[in-house]
Amino acid sequence: MSLYNIGRVCVKLAGRDAGNKCVIVEVIDDNYVMIDGATRRKSVNVKHLEPLVQIIEIKEKASHEDVKSAFDKLGIAVWDKKSKKPAERPRQVRKVKGKKSGAKAKVEVKAEKIKPNKEMKVEPKVEEKSIEEAVSSEVDKVEVKKE
C-alpha cells in the first residue's frame, strides 16, 4: 500500500511551490497524483512530495474551496490564485483639433446661464435709477425753494 492516497498532506519539494503544504486530491497513476492546497493545483510526480502524518477527509477530485476550508481547520494559510486581468492603466485622451461640436455646446450652455443673470441684474438697476431720479428731483425742488 502506497503512502500517497487521497487526503494525505504532503510538503512540496521541487519547483516554485517548494516548502508549501498540499493535499492529494486524485491519484492519477503509480507515479503521478493531483495536488491542491497552499500550492497551485497541479499533477505532480510523487518524487516531488514528502508525505506527512496528517490525513484529511476529502472526497476524490475535491474542489479548491473544499480543500481551502479543510486547510483553514488545520491552520494552514491558503492563497487564492490571482486574476489574470491586468489592472487598468490611466490612459491619456488625445485632443482632436476638429472637435467643434463639443465647444459649441459648451458656449450655448454658458449663454443660457448668463441670460437669467442679466435679467436679474437689470431689475434692481431700474430701481436704483428711479431712486436716483427721485433724489435728484427732490434736490432740485429744495434748491428751488431756497431761491
Binding site: 510538503v11 521541487a14 519547483g15 517548494a18
Partner: protein
C-alpha cells in the same frame, strides 16, 4: 609604461589590432566568479555570470531560480533540507 592601476592585474587585458597594423592594449573588468551552492559547492545553474550592475538591471526572475533558497542552494540540497524540515515537524 602602463599606469600603475593597469599593472596590478585587477583588469583583464585585451589585445586589439588597430587599422594601422599596431596592436594596442585595452583593459576590461574581469567577470565575477561562478555562483556556487552553499551546501555542496557545486556550480549553480540558472544564475548568470554577469557584472553586478547588469544583474541589477535584469528582472529578479532572470537572476536566480524561482524556488526557496534559489541562487544560494542547489536543487538537491534544497530538497534535502526541505525533507529534513518536514520530518522534524512530526
Amino acid at each position: 609604461m602602463p599606469r600603475g592601476m593597469f599593472k596590478s592585474g585587477r583588469l583583464r587585458k585585451i589585445f586589439v589590432k588597430t587599422p594601422g597594423g599596431n596592436t594596442t592594449v585595452q583593459y576590461k573588468q574581469r567577470k565575477p566568479s561562478k555562483a556556487v551552492c552553499a551546501g555542496c559547492k557545486k556550480q549553480l545553474a540558472g544564475v548568470p555570470r554577469k557584472l553586478a550592475g547588469k544583474m541589477k538591471s535584469m528582472p529578479k526572475s532572470a537572476r536566480r531560480p524561482e524556488r526557496p533558497y534559489g541562487g544560494t542552494l542547489c536543487s538537491a540540497c534544497t530538497r534535502q533540507l526541505l525533507t529534513q524540515k518536514a520530518r522534524e515537524e512530526k
